[in-house]
């Protein structure tokens, strides 16, 4: 059987009317489950405090008289400056870090599936040791230029003397596991050290600090998800290209990446969303200038309890751009891999 248009391939099985009905029922039920809390946010954003407190009201104009007071407060009134600034910061930080993470992570994932790395354990330990000493020195106040030069010297000496004696080496899967293991420590355990690190670098309260942090935090996820996609892409194509004289970079850029578009899009959405919504690291790394929106949301629970109406407005205005991106990118996920077509 030949598929005429590779972009319109779907399950080849046609559904019977009954199956169709059941499928729709399930889909609609889950849609309801997903939508209802969002609907509730929407109506809450139009309620006065008293409408929230007096019990559940569902329909504006019928149950209660809607008010724009919360929208006014967030977008025009007292909080407008904060909202605008934090919104801008989020818009700068999240897409930048997500794109960088996608770029570096995809490259690393490709490397891990197509090359064999055998880093020697001895070298790694020497390198780590030096790095720790350098970072500790900078943290304790040594000038960073001196620290790095001393570190390089120390490293060369260590490599010449100690590292050559250890011959054990790691495998690709070890590298991958090491990467993902970086996500295992809960943020509370790393936030103060990261704060100190950026403080010594003088990067606190800059967009750069947040971008670097989210980049590092999200890289492992990109690497792992993309690794699986690359493993499912057949090698023949790349080998053909290599015979034709294409460089590795070219193979990666113009053959492998286009094939991995669904995975790339899905992964990009995640890292974008993670960076868009991150709270704890943003709280510590930002001051007045680079605060992001999740802080504004969390801040609506203050001494007088959660301000549901303000919170609802903020959550809604936060998800609108992400939904727009998701809608725009959805068709790329749906496009599907060309694997089958190529194999055939």
């Amino acid at each position: 059987m030949v598929i005429p248009n590779p972009f319109r391939r779907r399950s080849p099985v046609a559904l019977s009317p009954l199956e169709m009905a059941i499928s729709y029922l399930i889909l609609i039920i889950w849609t309801g489950v997903v939508i209802f809390p969002l609907y509730w946010l929407l109506v809450t954003s139009f309620k006065l405090p008293i409408d929230v407190n007096m019990g559940p009201f569902y329909l504006p104009f019928i149950d209660f008289q809607p008010s724009l007071h919360a929208w006014d407060y967030i977008l025009v009134g007292d909080l407008a400056n904060d909202t605008r600034r934090n919104y801008f910061n989020t818009v700068v930080v999240a897409p930048t870090s997500a794109s960088l993470a996608l770029l570096l992570g995809t490259a690393a994932a490709y490397g891990l599936t197509r090359f064999e790395y055998r880093p020697r354990l001895g070298l790694i330990l020497c390198f780590l040791g030096t790095l720790v000493i350098v970072v500790a020195a900078i943290t304790l106040g040594a000038p960073w230029q001196v620290a790095i030069l001393a570190g390089i010297a120390l490293f060369v000496i260590l490599v010449q003397t100690v590292a050559r004696r250890f011959q054990r080496s790691l495998k690709n899967s070890d590298i991958a596991f090491w990467l993902i293991s970086q996500r295992m420590l809960p943020p509370v355990a790393v936030v103060i050290p990261i704060y100190v690190l950026f403080q010594r670098l003088g990067l606190l309260d800059t967009h750069l600090a947040l971008i670097i942090t989210y980049l590092a935090v999200n890289l492992p996820i990109v690497v792992w998800l993309m690794r699986d996609y690359f493993q499912s892409i057949p090698l023949e194509l790349e080998e053909c290209a290599a015979i034709d004289g294409a460089s590795r970079y070219r193979i990666f850029w113009s053959i492998v990446l286009p094939l991995a578009v669904p995975g790339l899009v899905a992964t990009f959405l995640f890292v974008l969303v993670f960076a868009w919504n991150e709270y704890l690291l943003a709280l510590f790394l930002s001051g007045a200038k680079s605060q992001t929106l999740p802080l504004t949301v969390a801040a609506q629970n203050a001494t007088r309890g959660p301000q549901w109406w303000y919170m609802s407005v903020l959550i809604l205005i936060m998800i609108v751009p992400v939904i727009a991106i998701a809608v725009a990118l959805e068709r790329y996920i749906a496009r599907g891999l060309l694997v089958g077509a190529i194999k055939g």
Binding site: M1, R9, R10, P12, S23, L27, W30, V34, I35, W40, G55, P56, Y58, A107, A108, G111, L112, R114, F115, Y117, V132, V135, A136, N172, S173, F177, L179, R183, L185, P186, V188, V190, I192, P193, L197, I212, R227, Y229, Q231, S232, E238, E239, I243, S247, R248, P262, A266, W276, N277, Y279, V297, N301, I315, M318, V322, A326, R331, A334, R335, G344
Partner: protein
């Protein structure tokens, strides 16, 4: 991993062999850049991660072995050895961290014995196979001991007289949550790959929960779970539960947390599985259908093996993330009633917030230990097998 080796050798030979003979210098540069390709691909990522992970890792390890104290002129970090860990496992925090042990019910015993039987059977089979090195044998014995103790802990703290500590509560969140999320995500992904009208609408809608900031989701679900002025109040009243509040009941509150977690994270499973299903080979399926296989057989023998590698990754990532659950219990119940909904990260978070940095880091490291151990066992037992088949 055989495929990788094949690929590398094939490409190496081909790549170098076909270098165009232009000029000696250019060629030299070209091959050098080519030869470095492997490093160029991976090093940026490794370096960025290294840059931000090594220092925090070591600093929080050293914090977990010490105590922070404010003295005149600043603070002092005093080394206290394993005192913070001792406190969690045997000292004043034991009831909180591990839970209160009670004698297990029959079901508990069955569960524990079942797990032990399985583990020991695996170990025996492994030793019988004869290809064991000392290191991997030690590793496997350790696995049996640790998984066995987790089963023992579950059986004892979930008994009628026992009370689960933050470790057990976290494990419950992780395993129940992931199982339901995976099943739901797969079901929805399969349905939306069918030829259904309005498919695209569902696809976008199902992604929505993932896009809300976790703190926001937690507050949204605090409204949802409120049975006094939340949207389900009339239903609650109609069921005659007006004077009962589920968030005041330990299991009710845990259920509320798990439901919210499922709502939040099913989209993650959904979108990755959707991409995986979209990427599967249709020819195989069609061939099988032509051969008269029914739909269940197609799913079991063709679809599932194709999405298994992605699934195992997905579950691993989700597992690592799920162990860090903190926003939901923190906002929904603040870990209450009592300590019923407190996860390990929340436990660490409360300690951290009150400047008990040593105690907090110790909990975080216990969590790191548990997650590393569980995910390594997971990778060794399941993923490697799935991916290499």
């Amino acid at each position: 991993m055989t495929t990788e080796r094949v690929s590398r050798s094939a490409l190496t030979e081909v790549g170098i062999g076909t270098e165009a003979p232009t000029s000696v210098v250019l060629r030299h540069v070209g091959t050098r850049v080519e030869r470095m390709a492997g490093n160029v691909f991976i090093l940026p990522a490794v370096l960025v991660v290294l840059f931000l992970s090594i220092f925090p890792l070591f600093l929080s390890l050293s914090l977990s072995l010490s105590r922070l104290k404010f003295v005149k002129g600043g603070f002092e970090i005093k080394f206290v050895g394993l005192a913070n860990y001792h406190k969690l496992l045997f000292g004043s925090e034991q009831n909180h961290f591990l839970g209160v042990l009670g004698s297990p019910s029959l079901l508990g015993w069955l569960f524990f014995l079942g797990v032990m039987a399985f583990l020991i059977w695996r170990l025996v089979r492994y030793i019988r196979a004869g290809s064991s090195s000392v290191v991997s044998l030690v590793g496997r014995v350790l696995t049996v001991v640790l998984l066995g103790s987790i089963a023992w802990l579950l059986a004892h703290t979930l008994s009628p007289e026992g009370r689960p500590g933050t470790v057990v509560v976290t494990l419950l969140y992780v395993f129940i949550g992931i199982a339901v999320q995976y099943a739901l995500g797969l079901l929805l992904a399969m349905l939306t790959t069918q030829r259904l009208p309005a498919r695209r609408f569902f696809r976008v809608v199902f992604l929505l929960p993932m896009m809300i900031t976790p703190v926001g989701i937690a507050y949204t679900f605090r409204m949802m779970t409120d049975t006094d002025k939340g949207p389900f109040q009339p239903i609650w009243q109609a069921l005659g539960l007006g004077l009962y509040s589920w968030v005041n009941d330990p299991w009710g509150a845990r259920t509320a947390v798990i439901i919210s977690d499922i709502w939040q994270w099913t989209p993650f499973m959904y979108i990755v599985l959707l991409a995986a299903l979209e990427g599967q080979s249709v020819e195989l399926m069609e061939a099988a259908l032509v051969d008269g296989a029914n739909r269940w057989q197609v799913f079991w023998h063709i679809t599932l093996p194709q999405i298994l590698p992605v699934s195992t990754t997905l579950i691993l990532i989700r597992m690592i993330e799920a162990f860090k659950i903190v926003d939901l219990p923190n906002v929904l119940t603040n870990g209450g009633p009592g300590t019923a909904t407190e996860s390990m990260t929340l436990h660490a978070f409360i300690a951290w917030r009150t400047l008990d940095l040593g105690g907090s880091a110790a909990i975080a490291y216990m969590l790191l230990f548990l997650v590393t151990f569980l995910s390594m066992s997971y990778v060794n037992i399941l993923r490697r097998r799935v991916v290499e088949v």
